[in-house]
Amino acid sequence: MRRGDLLDAGVFAAAGAAILVASLRMDRLTDRGIEAWSAPGLTPGVVGALIIVLSLVLVWQAVRAPAQAEADEPAVPGAMRRAGLALLLCVVFAGITLGHGTPFVIEGAVFIFVFTTLFSWTEWRAAGRAARGLAQTLAVAIAASAFISWLFESVFLVRLP
């Protein structure tokens, strides 16, 4: 039995059910003289029903499958920790700090500097070049952020957040 697939199937089935219920409850616009067959909820309703059916098939496959390793990719030590750190930094930058008054060129430079430093610090310290690594990263972060900001504002005429 593949427990991972059972969980995934459950999530998809729940999503499919939610989509189907919401579609059935959607206004069918019959008071506007619109045909029932072109109701807005038709396509998402069909999609929701199909998702439920396929989720059940996935459950059936998972139950019949021989017991085997759950992971779809070979486990890499520290993979989720690194991904989690990258995710946190990206969400803080793009989802929280952006668009609150700080010029983008500064936010971008800080993000690139902090991101690179956090991931490369261990390697720099081991090689005895922490100060050099910090200085280089700061220079690259400022240059990259300045160039990208100039490119979007002056060449592509985009008002930055």
Binding site: V47, G108, F111
Partner: protein
């Protein structure tokens, strides 16, 4: 005759100094993107779509096609030198390309990869010019019923052929179709799943979603992996030997045909084309034992196949509005943003556009020939830049790229949300390509289903009795039946006997 006139006009328009400068720099940018593991052709095209929004439509499409062609080719560099495919399409090139490099023939391998790529691309361009008008003319007979099934075939085929479990692929395709329905309904402008939020009423932007799926998700995937040290060994001469080309002409033609055919299949893409061409070359070869150990035949087959798939993927995109691969899906979205209307009416309303794309692909092919032979060593310098610097810069471009389309932070949040979801789902074995196809084709499927039912007054019969509809419905049924265990076992027994 009209076709030749249009092609002549397209080539004349591309002969200007700005067009050549755009083509060369975009192809080089594409090669760099393809070179860097973790950056895909889809991301490259999506990012450049956001960068070229304000350009003239002809120049924007020129840049995007050149980035696409360059990126698919560029991945062969790292495949040969580092045994790491720059893009998924170059994974097959690792098998023999890297072995040749280990035998001290890295330059020869890169020259062969360049020649195979150019040959495949040229073959594909020929097919693009010949078959797109024919397919578009056939598609004029399509109605709502046919387009519904075509959309479903596209999503299901992508789900069947990508990833290890078609059920998971189809679930992702349906998820993409659902996401495409969020926002104002295209028929009656009625809000669907908007939760009374004005931002969501505008729908989920296609480009921010694609940048999230192929950009942010890739950044997370790359950063989760352990670091790889790029050891760039010395490179011998990259000029291909004429003897190599003449000896493997059958492989080039076979792989070109396979590449174009696989490229035409919706959502399948260049990686499948490369593997299919490689497998066919191995079956046909008299030196099968050399495959995987430095076979020139294998390398040529893989690179010819994956580059022939690029024009192949553009054939259904232009003629039917159904993209043949994920990068073609983004390219199609960009074409729509710039005023082109891919689909059967393109040949009627904008016939010149098809030949413009033919001319642009030809120019991009010449670009990869130039850079492939001239700029081997300087381009490899890019591999020395640590990923810890490249990835945050790529993410900043993803953020600004998503933002720049409508200048809404909502699009940045869409990019984040889709990226996180696709990163997680991919780790669980759910392929992303069907989701992209569903997102792109969702609008066609939605409108066609409802229009068809209104025309037939609620009857499902026309969906199954009109000739083309019936054929497409049968294809969907075959794809479904092939997943039934009893049917799979029967076919397996039949193949053994």
């Amino acid at each position: 005759m009209d076709g030749l006139n249009h092609l002549g006009a397209a080539l004349a328009a591309l002969a200007g100094p700005w067009q050549i400068a755009y083509a060369l720099s975009a192809t080089l940018a594409g090669i760099v993107i393809g070179l860097l593991p973790g950056l895909s052709a889809t991301l490259g095209v999506a990012l450049f779509t956001t960068l070229t929004l304000k350009m003239a439509p002809a120049d924007a499409i020129l840049v995007l096609v050149c980035v696409y062609v360059g990126a698919i080719y560029g991945g062969s560099r790292t495949a040969i030198l580092l045994n790491i495919p720059g893009t998924a399409a170059n994974a097959a090139a690792c098998l023999d390309g890297h072995m040749l490099a280990r035998q001290g023939q890295a330059g020869r391998a890169m020259g062969i990869a360049t020649t195979g790529s150019v040959a495949g691309s040229l073959f594909g361009v020929l097919c693009l010019a010949m078959f797109t008008p024919l397919l578009a003319e056939t598609a004029l007979k399509f109605g709502a019923f046919e387009f519904f099934w075509l959309g479903m075939v596209g999503v299901m085929m992508s789900g069947t052929l990508t990833g290890s479990n078609p059920i998971k692929g189809w679930l992702m395709g349906l998820l993409g179709i659902f996401v495409a329905t969020i926002g104002l309904d295209p028929v009656h402008a009625h809000p669907r799943f908007t939760f009374d939020n004005n931002e969501i009423s505008g729908g989920i932007g296609l480009i921010p979603a694609l940048v999230g799926a192929f950009g942010f998700a890739e950044v997370l995937t790359v950063m989760s992996q352990t670091k790889l040290k790029a050891v760039v060994s010395s490179v011998d001469s990259v000029l291909p030997k004429i003897a190599d080309l003449l000896r493997y002409w059958r492989t080039i033609i076979r792989s070109g045909l396979i590449g174009v055919f696989v490229g035409i299949l919706p959502g399948v893409g260049e990686d499948m084309a490369a593997w299919s061409s490689y497998a066919a070359a191995k079956r046909a070869s008299k030196e099968r034992e050399k495959f995987g150990k430095g076979s020139v035949d294998g390398l040529i087959a893989a690179e010819t196949g994956d580059n022939a798939a690029i024009p192949g993927a553009l054939i259904p995109a232009l003629a039917l509005g159904i993209p043949g691969s994920a990068p073609a899906a983004v390219l199609m979205a960009a074409m729509i943003i710039h005023g082109a209307q891919p689909g059967p009416m393109l040949m009627v309303n904008q016939p010149q556009f098809i030949y413009d794309v033919v001319g642009i692909t030809l120019l991009a092919t010449l670009g990869i020939l130039v850079f492939g032979l001239v700029l081997v060593r300087p381009i490899l310098w890019v591999l020395r830049v640590p990923r810890d610097i490249i990835m945050p810069i790529v993410f900043v471009l993803c953020v600004l790229g998503s933002y720049s389309i409508t200048q809404r932070l909502f699009d940045v949040w869409v990019m984040l949300g889709v990226g996180i979801a696709c990163f997680w789902l991919r780790r669980r074995g759910f392929p992303v390509a069907p989701f992209v196809l569903g997102l792109v084709l969702g609008d066609i499927v939605d409108k066609s289903l409802r229009r068809g039912l209104v025309l037939s007054d609620g009857s499902l019969l026309p969906f199954f009795t009109r000739p083309i509809s019936a054929a497409l419905a049968a294809l969907v049924l075959v794809m479904l039946l092939m997943q039934v265990p009893m049917v799979k076992r029967w076919f397996a027994r039949r193949n053994k006997t």
